[in-house]
């Protein structure tokens, strides 16, 4: 039973802006489906009376005060950018 069809995979690749070869697609398709199949065991559990859990740490209301801390220098910020111009990071045309 395949949950992820070729169309769904293509769509996910488009959302992630990834391009992969046809052979890789076949391989990823098999892997994704076997992972999902493994997780389908969870569908068998009775969870109707269980509260959903959104967070694992059990913490609640962790805040910081509204105080300013130093930022990085522009030089440090731009260090990892492949292309820059006048202090901006330069990317391909976006719309």
């Amino acid at each position: 039973m395949s949950v992820i069809t070729k169309d769904v995979l293509e769509h996910l690749l488009w959302l992630s802006k990834l391009s992969v070869s046809e052979e890789e697609k076949e391989r990823i398709l098999t892997q994704l489906n076997s992972v999902l199949e493994y997780f389908s065991i969870l569908d068998e559990l009775e969870i109707e009376d269980v509260e959903p859990m959104y967070h694992v740490a059990g913490l609640v209301n962790v805040f910081r005060e509204d105080e300013v801390e130093p930022s990085l220098s522009q030089e440090e910020v731009l260090k990892n950018a492949p292309k820059t111009e006048n202090g901006f990071i330069k990317t391909p045309r976006m719309m």
Partner: protein
């Protein structure tokens, strides 16, 4: 054609009165700074960095939700909204999804046919993305420049139901919202990019189009006017409206088709694992205490307390700074007089120049009114004082001295009247012959010869008397 137009708005509001960003300590004071100087590992989304929620941002969000008459969620948390776009380098935006902090509220606005209620669907918190600068126009740029100074600013998304029936009503809603947010002291609408608006518009029975990222109230009105015409033309030709996202080109006043909208499931929302949930419903009574008198309540109080008209009260209370100045000055002068000068003259002159009230302290208004009440300057002189103060940054006294605006005294006026009568014998004769308009002409001459410093009433009286005596 009179089909129903339905407009809903999605407004992004920066909580720019905060000192620091939503999830990190970077300063919010970046407007005049060079690009990429107000960023840190958290708002750049560098691996291993951890966000922490700004407590005051949550307080502000709660304050807004309550002021918009929303229900407050008892327990809420943040989500990751995943999308791949360089305005957020993490490839997701920390936002809310189900359980927004506020929902089911309403705002009363001035509609096309009297008061109208616009329902608020939800108010939620999220982080602002960075700013993209497209080199050339958006549909024709060669490359894009990114500045992350704005990235991580605390943002509220306020979503209305499609309750507005015209572009004018949409604008009226936005003005009211801005006014409320400024009263709450969580928002400064004068800062660039402080409020950005997406507008949904449909003609009843058809699909809707969404116009994204409009930066001014006037822009919203124009974009919507354009959309109504565009959609009507399609329908008239027997076409069908497609659901799509459009971009408003502020220079050309048109909307351009952008891209097919991503479906909600494409954002693959999941709970933000780096931020624990929070429950702030206990804060409600304390926060409610901090909500000041809002524009509508103030308007009603002004009408009953100062006996001014509804129109004047509305004009005075739409901006809390104007309202405060009015009350300060009205404590020393006749409120009706003050209301007229502040709402009709001062506010008009400020709007005309696109200035905020910060440049005009209450003491200036008091000085001007004092001289006006004691007959030292004329109405016209007072208007000139206000204009010159705004244009040249002078004090009222400086303007009065420099422009010679002090009212002409009786002896000076007498000389001027005598000259005018001597030089306009034709008009004097006309007046004697019963032509009343001739008197207006003579008064006009006196005002002209004193460069506006003559009191028209006094001048009129003097002219009448002098002609009488000459006879």
């Amino acid at each position: 054609m009179n089909e129903n137009v339905k407009i809903g708005l999605e407004i992004h509001v920066q909580l720019n009165k905060l000192k620091s960003k939503m999830f990190c300590g970077c300063s919010t004071d970046y407007h005049d700074a060079p690009p990429n100087t107000h960023v840190c590992p958290v708002c750049l989304g560098l691996p291993g960095s951890l966000p922490t929620i700004n407590k005051k941002a949550v307080e502000y969000a709660l304050k807004v939700a309550l002021a918009l008459n929303c229900e407050v969620e008892t327990r809420t948390h943040f989500y990751r909204k995943n999308y791949f776009y360089p305005d957020l380098p993490k490839n997701f935006q920390i936002s809310q999804y189900d359980f927004p902090i506020g929902s089911n509220g309403y705002v009363e606005i001035e509609g096309d046919n009297g008061a109208k209620v616009v329902r608020i669907k939800r108010v939620h918190m999220e982080e602002d993305p960075g700013r993209l600068v497209h080199i050339g126009t958006i549909d024709r740029s060669r490359y894009t420049l990114v500045d992350y100074n704005r990235s991580g600013m605390a943002l509220l998304e306020i979503v209305t139901e499609p309750d507005m029936g015209s572009p004018k009503e949409a604008r009226s809603f936005l003005a009211k919202l801005r006014s409320i947010l400024e009263y709450l002291d969580v928002f400064d609408g004068d800062k660039e990019g402080a409020m950005r608006i997406d507008a949904n518009i449909s003609i009843e029975g058809n699909e809707r189009a969404e116009v994204k990222n409009i930066s001014s109230h006037k822009g919203v009105e124009k974009a919507l006017q354009y959309e109504i015409i565009r959609q009507r033309n399609i329908l008239r030709r027997g076409g069908r409206i497609v659901r799509e996202t459009r971009h408003f080109d502020e220079e050309r006043n048109i909307t351009i088709s952008m891209r097919l909208k991503e479906e909600e499931e494409d954002y693959r929302y999941f709970p933000e694992p780096d931020l624990p949930p929070f429950s702030v419903v206990d804060w409600v009574p304390v926060i409610r205490e901090t909500i000041p008198e809002l524009p509508d309540e103030k308007r009603d109080r002004f009408i009953s307390q100062y006996g001014i008209s509804e129109a004047l009260a509305k004009a005075l209370t739409s901006d809390h700074k104007i309202a405060d100045l009015f009350e300060d000055v009205a404590s020393e002068f006749e409120p009706k007089l003050v209301a007229g000068w502040v709402a009709d003259v001062l506010k008009g002159e400020l709007n005309y120049r696109g200035l905020s009230l910060d440049v005009f302290p209450p003491s200036y208004m008091k000085e001007i009114l004092k001289m006006l009440v004691s007959d030292e300057i004329t109405d016209r002189g007072a208007v000139i004082v206000i204009r010159k103060v705004l244009d040249e940054g002078l004090t009222p006294q400086e303007v009065i001295e420099r422009e010679g605006l002090r009212k002409a005294g009786e002896s000076e006026l007498e000389t001027v009247v005598r000259d005018v009568l001597k030089n306009n014998t034709k008009a004097v004769e006309d007046y004697r012959a019963g032509k009343k308009e001739a008197l207006n002409f003579l008064v006009g001459q006196v005002i002209r010869n004193t460069k506006g410093r003559a009191d028209p009433k006094l001048a009129r009286k003097m002219i009448e008397e002098m002609i009488e005596n000459l006879a």
